[in-house]
Amino acid sequence: MQTRALGDTGHDSSVTTFGTIALNWLEQEGADQMVELLLNHGVNHFDVAPTYGDAELKLGPKLRQHREEIFVGCKTQEREYEGAKRELERSLTRLGVDRIDLYQVHGLEYEHELETITGEGGALEAIREAKDEGLVDHVGLTSHGDPQLILDALDRIDDLETVMFPLNPVVVGKDDPEYDYEAVLERANELNVGTLGIKAFAKGPWPPTDDLARADRPYANWYEPVDTPGAIRERFDFAAARGLTSVVSPGDPKLVAMVVDAAERYDGMDEAAQRSLVERLRHEESPVPEQLHH
């Protein structure tokens, strides 16, 4: 499987990153098999968080067994020093390792949160301290919030080494600044910050719960995913061709093998095919009957 330099970290990440939230839906034996499957196919970057149910615990045994083969990213939703320090310690314990390769401020949404994490007594202080102590190797940020906020974070956090944000053809087709994650990708590339793409496989929101009860949804994802080999491959190719370092696999374990297969077969996607996908989805999302042209 193709690997790409993860910014300035010195690590070459596989072109797909395993979103380990998928382990939360599996029993331990299945979780172990899933990790082996990914390793067999050359996936070397795993992403976990304390908020992913018991994914940390289920990843633990195989992570310890294959510690040197796996670059593990973990996250904290805490914004202040004490909370972040405590959460990092908890993750180290639950994963059962003495070092996390990439520790990310998780789900940044508001400007005031950026103030808090960058300020005195903020979460970044705890992460930098952990870096000095050898508990963490690299600092990252994740957000599916306002692209402008991520751009601000890229400008303000000098030692930021990775960013994780949404990128898919539906988002690319929209002009509003609130969807302009391509600007984030461009800026991160200029700064040589590694880029991890999420929501690459999102098809759209689930139908209203009146039409489809939460318990009747066929996938664990909080959005409706694309779920055929062709569509998964198309979405993967698009995200990877756009220039992300690595595309994060979706949260439902039933989809992971298809994503790994797509990643393994990845061979680029030319611009005309990328535009074709954007246009197709643009029309499917808001069909305008009288529109005959692309």
Binding site: D270, E279, R282, P287, P289, H294
Partner: protein, 237 residues
Amino acid sequence: MDVPETVRAALDDRPVTGAVCLEAGAGLGNATAGLLAAGARRVYAVTNDRDHATAVRERVGRDDRTAVLEADLRDLPLATDAVDLITAHGLFNVLAPESLGAVVAELTRVAAPGCHLVVDDYDPVPDDAAVGDLFAVENAATRLARGHPALSFYPAAVLRRLFVGDGWAFDRELTLLEPVPWTASHLRAHADVARAAAASLPDELGEPLAAEASRIAEEIGSESVGRMYGLAFRLAE
């Protein structure tokens, strides 16, 4: 409404900033929106279809750089040498062969010396494409009802030679879409055109054509096939 990626790609290497532009065959104003976003000084959006004119006004009419004109492309209400950049984005496929010469001559008349021209359109769909059957029924119905086909797909090389023959220098060719995503909404719209034309024909002729258009569109659903190209030309200074 967002500017399509096709329009962005077609305008990306053109000098739009500060230019007086003409969108020939405005449709829903996709190119007009792209020209405005790229910094055009003025955009004339020309269409002979009242519904399209209304749609373009609703979309971009608040921008005082825009003038939406309802006019025939063979007789534009614009002065000679009036525009710096012309777009024909998805225009030529709705022009029948017999009107090509007059439209090209009129676009050339309003083009200022050094004018840029962007022509984005579709290559003929491949023989084995299912959408080809729908277009065939649509063209049969419109030919019988109005005397000319709704759709004519000209190969890139044909339009290239046509404009070069009228004094335009060829600049470049891009592939804008490959494959072309003919979505369910596109195909329903084509079936609608076929049924509307069929409705004006005698029942024994119109009814089977309308039924066939509905059947094919329903059966295909959607299809991604063929190529959309982007040509660019320039008039001598």
